[in-house]
């Protein structure tokens, strides 16, 4: 919110006046802003999306993004479209963002969500930036409905889950993936191992932690060493006796309403039996 005000105050010619007309020609140069745009704004107001918007492995909005022009994020491409608002991520190429601002273009940046509250806040904030606050509230309300259906009964012990990825990396509590796990009613093995955001969990450590649910990302991959550990015989054998879930990476790469779908899917495993909380 504060960032939005700061950016508006910098616009030439409207110092002191509130902007009332919502932006009509928005360019997005970040995957997560692509997705939120498509969720909140009519297509006619979107001038271009990033080239990742139609990547089936990463984008939660592939079908919606078809037919909309794409850019690769270079300042020149963006300028040529003459946008009235550019939406980017906090880690979008700094030089590009700074250059666009120096040329007088309004650029707002989305941060990295680390909790469900961050997700709600981002949806609302983004809705304000693009002039669709009402729609933003409706999207948050729908997400909240899914989250409360998935929430565990207070007082019941949370089963232990672990997210395991290439090179043995796991997501801790302060990541979007960790927040999804928490909202679905699980405790996170990474947190217990002292990993707060992203970190390496050796295979032996994963097994000794005795998770009741293993969560893998579903994306197909080319051969390399990073995925070897995921096919290790010890891990394969352990999967015979514990629950395993496979989540499409595109559903939790960005904050947005699709996150509710993952939460519900994981919660169902807990609610319908395969994963039993065993009171630790």
């Amino acid at each position: 919110m504060i960032l939005g005000i700061w950016v508006l105050a910098g616009l030439p010619g409207i110092a002191g006046a509130a902007v009332t007309a919502p932006p009509r020609h928005i360019v997005s140069i970040n995957l997560c802003t692509d997705a939120l745009l498509l969720a909140l704004v009519p297509r006619s107001r979107i001038a271009a999306l990033s080239h990742l918007a139609t990547d089936p492995r990463l984008s939660p909005v592939v079908a919606l993004a078809r037919g909309i022009p794409q850019v690769h994020g270079a300042a020149e491409e963006v300028l040529a479209l003459d946008p009235d608002l550019v939406v980017a991520g906090r880690y979008t190429t700094r030089e590009t963002v700074l250059l666009l601002r120096r040329l007088g273009i309004d650029v707002v940046e989305l941060g990295l969500p680390t909790s469900m509250n961050d997700v709600r806040r981002q949806i609302r904030e983004f809705a304000q930036w693009v002039g669709e606050p009402g729609r933003g509230e409706r999207v948050v309300a729908a997400l909240d409905a899914r989250l409360s259906a998935a929430a565990p009964d207070p007082g019941t012990p949370r089963p232990l889950a672990a997210i395991y990825g290439p090179n043995g990396y796991t997501a801790g509590p302060r990541t979007l993936e960790g927040a999804v796990l928490r909202a679905a009613g699980y405790a996170n093995l990474a947190g217990r191992a002292g990993i707060e955001t992203w970190g390496w969990l050796p295979l032996e450590g994963l097994l000794r932690g005795r998770p009741q649910l293993l969560v893998f990302e579903e994306t197909g991959h080319a051969p390399d060493l990073a995925h070897r550990v995921l096919a290790h015989p010890a891990l394969v054998r352990v999967q015979r006796s514990i629950a395993v879930a496979s989540v499409p990476g595109r559903l939790w790469s960005c904050a947005g309403p699709w996150v509710g779908e993952v939460v519900q899917r994981l919660a169902r495993l807990r609610q319908e039996g395969p994963v039993q909380g065993r009171g630790r």
Binding site: E204, D224, H232
Partner: protein, 326 residues
């Protein structure tokens, strides 16, 4: 002459047992219940995770020590070892091509076979380049050239590979690691390593004769070109398979024969089995150090062997300059 073998053998057994008893340092500590109460999990971890690591430590180490001793004996060059002579980096190139472009997914033995092909070709190239010249320096320079070429081609192959992780994985191929190996890795590499050892260990008598000079060895009835072929095949098979599953681990083949030579009376023939045991012991020790001293993500094994081997290499160079080639 038995006691050095008993000591080396005993040391290897002790280090093997320690390796089985050691877990990764980064594992969650305090809240983990004791493994003794869960025999099935204990067995899973011991047999599927720690045992392959310890076994490969022994076999890869023995391969490196043995190959180093053979190369030093045959080439009569105190600085010879598979890493410096391009056998390891060429093996890595072969393995990278097989793994990242899907060949080993179709046919698992493609991985060690590609490593073997790379290793044998690289070594043959070095020997060809240094042919005729008796100088130690020429051989080392040929090794430098082949290493540079193989390294560049490996980096290129990884850059062209479809997987986005490939480019960063060059660290594994250049420095080696035994972390999270499986019994499958042991299975595909062992037959080739054993075949290589079989060829190399038989070269003992030929190396003893060669230490008296090429003419003398020939007059004693040894066929030098045939010895050379068996050496290239033996080193290619064993080092090629070892690198295919563990990456290229340097300096073991350089250090071990030098340390053990005085203990076996400077006889190249006896040095071979001694170096195999010594190489196994050194590699196991380095792998223990990797687990004891890493914070966060594990150090690559080659870092530890280089920390030991590179200063040793410098010491050898300095000694050679003062005393003349040993």
């Amino acid at each position: 002459m038995v006691w050095p073998f008993l000591v080396l053998g005993g040391l290897t057994v002790v280090l093997f047992a320690l390796s089985l008893a050691t877990g990764p340092r980064g594992a969650p500590g305090a809240a983990v219940p004791d493994l003794r109460h869960d025999p099935e999990l204990l067995r899973l971890i011991l047999v599927q995770i720690r045992l392959p690591r310890a076994l490969l430590g022994v076999m890869v180490g023995a391969t490196l020590g043995l190959s180093g001793a053979v190369l030093q004996g045959f080439l009569r060059n105190p600085l010879a070892e598979p890493g410096l002579l391009g056998a390891s980096s060429s093996a890595a190139l072969g393995a990278v091509i097989a793994l990242y472009f899907g060949l080993s997914a179709l046919f698992p033995a493609a991985l060690p076979l590609a490593g073997i092909a790379g290793s044998a070709l690289g070594l043959m190239l070095v020997i060809l380049l240094a042919r005729g010249s008796g100088s130690i320096l020429t051989l080392i320079l040929a090794g430098v050239a082949v290493n540079a070429l193989a390294g560049a081609l490996t980096a290129l192959a990884l850059n062209l590979a479809p997987s986005p992780y490939a480019a960063m994985e060059i660290v594994f191929w250049l420095l080696g690691s035994l972390a999270d190996r499986s019994l499958e890795d042991v299975g595909i590499a062992t037959p080739f390593m054993l075949a290589g050892w079989f060829l190399l260990l038989r070269l003992g008598r030929g190396l003893d004769a060669l230490s008296l000079g090429e003419e003398t060895a020939r007059s004693l009835g040894f066929d030098i070109p045939r010895l050379r072929l068996e050496m290239v095949l033996g080193v290619g098979l064993s080092v090629g398979a070892a690198v295919a599953v563990a990456g290229s681990i340097g300096f073991v083949g350089l250090v071990v024969p030098h340390l053990l030579r005085p203990l076996v009376g400077h006889r190249p023939g006896l040095l071979l089995p001694a170096s195999a045991l010594g190489g196994a012991a050194l590699t196991l020790a380095a792998d223990l150090a990797v687990r004891w001293f890493s914070a966060g993500q594990e150090l690559k094994l080659g870092v530890v062997t280089a920390l030991v081997g590179a200063p040793f290499f410098l010491y050898l160079l300095v000694r050679m300059r003062r005393v003349g080639p040993a």
